[in-house]
Symmetry: C2
Subunit: 216 residues, 2 copies
DNA sequence: CACGAACCGTACCGTACGGTACGCATTTGG
DNA sequence: CCAAATGCGTACCGTACGGTACGGTTCGTG
């Protein structure tokens, strides 16, 4: 029953509470600590209910990803007229948000979980994580740079390529390093500023470059 | 330093063969397939020998990382005088090599392994993987861009920051996507060229930019 | 109030893994 | 030629996990 109703409807409040506890266990102790018995104990529910609600352990993991993705909603603000200053500002805000999301312990734990199982289950969890967790971010950034192009502030032919360039400038190898256990940066704002400046130097039109030169 | 840093000094040939089989098991079936019994069976050795040589399962995993890192030796070519064309060429070769290494199935499997265990063992494997597997690449790139600066072709204040920018331009989110199970790119050369062009546009001096404009 | 559905807590089962012990074959060195 | 060492194959042990079954309890509903 629930197997196909996963995407259309949310979970019940009780199930959300269970998923919350499961995420907590995962963040605290990694995948090894995420046992069905442990989840049942932490959430004060029975294993039988777990299997009734989520099917099996993989269903529970998928539900955790779906639930977490549904919690992090990003707002799309569009229609606003962009000038060089506001474009720069929005890009920096996006960069900071992106770094903050990627450095979040729940995000790191879920990525570790999906990566750890990615060559066992045919990367089902990996696909789910990319689709559910990444699409909003992609859309937000794409909308932003598209608006920048419409306002005559950015110049590019392939929007996807420009977005990937922006992503690489912001994140570099930081995500993988954090996934491997390294602590994040101390100053994300500086990194965000640097990345946006480089991006504008690569893809900005003369108007933006003039503004950048003035502020520096 | 490459004279005495012989890779065979770490383990005996027999142990290398065992580690090779262990890597093969890991690549084929993921971490779940990497059992001590499975390794012993695949390598035609006894579990007792495994524990004698590597201590415990974690020791085996560490040995696998060390062994694989010792296999991939990158050569440092320095002292050569750089001109705009050769700098561009070396950067593109570095980018292609980097993408090829990151997309290798053994590299992906080891990264997945270390990431999957990174919040359980205090990221011991993660640190090992970064130190053993990354240092040579970092050194090679750092040497290259330092040589570019000495030749008056690159301009930057923080070499580490410039290198991270280059890395982000080359890899973007491709590494994480592959770790999550997505197939790699179809054309790595194009990605390498694009990344190097962007890097030179950001950090190149007038000589390099003139050369780039001429070739385009 | 009564009845059934949902659910909790716990006990249980089969399996599979990490790690150890033992018997036997092969090598090595004097 | 013998003895010590090394190592292979197998059997074994304790444990812990995924998944199932069951008795007792709460709660919504006619």
């Amino acid at each position: 029953m629930l197997s196909e109703a996963g995407q259309s409807s949310e979970f019940s409040p009780r199930q959300n509470a269970v998923l919350e506890q499961a995420l907590r266990l995962l963040v605290d102790g990694g995948e090894k600590a995420l046992t069905t018995s442990g989840v049942a104990r932490a959430a004060n529910c029975s294993k039988e209910s777990l299997y009734k609600w989520f099917g099996d352990r993989d269903g529970l993991l998928s539900a955790m990803i779906t639930y977490q993705a549904s919690k992090v909603r990003t707002f799309e603000r569009n229609g606003e007229r962009l000038n060089p200053t506001s474009l720069h500002e929005h890009l920096v805000i996006f960069a900071r948000d992106l770094l903050e999301v990627l450095a979040g312990d729940v995000s790191l734990a879920l990525n570790r979980l999906a990566i750890g199982q990615s060559n066992r289950d045919g990367s089902k969890l990996g696909k789910l994580l990319l689709e559910r967790g990444r699409r909003q971010i992609d859309r937000r950034a794409s909308g932003l740079i598209d608006a920048g192009k419409r306002a005559g502030l950015l110049r590019f032919t392939d929007a996807d390529e420009a977005y990937h360039t922006l992503y690489g400038l912001i994140v570099s190898d930081l995500h993988v390093r954090m996934l491997l256990g390294e602590p994040g940066l101390k100053d994300t704002s500086r990194q965000a500023e640097k990345a946006v400046s480089a991006f504008l130097k690569l893809y900005g039109t003369e108007k933006v470059l003039a503004e950048a030169a003035a502020t520096v």
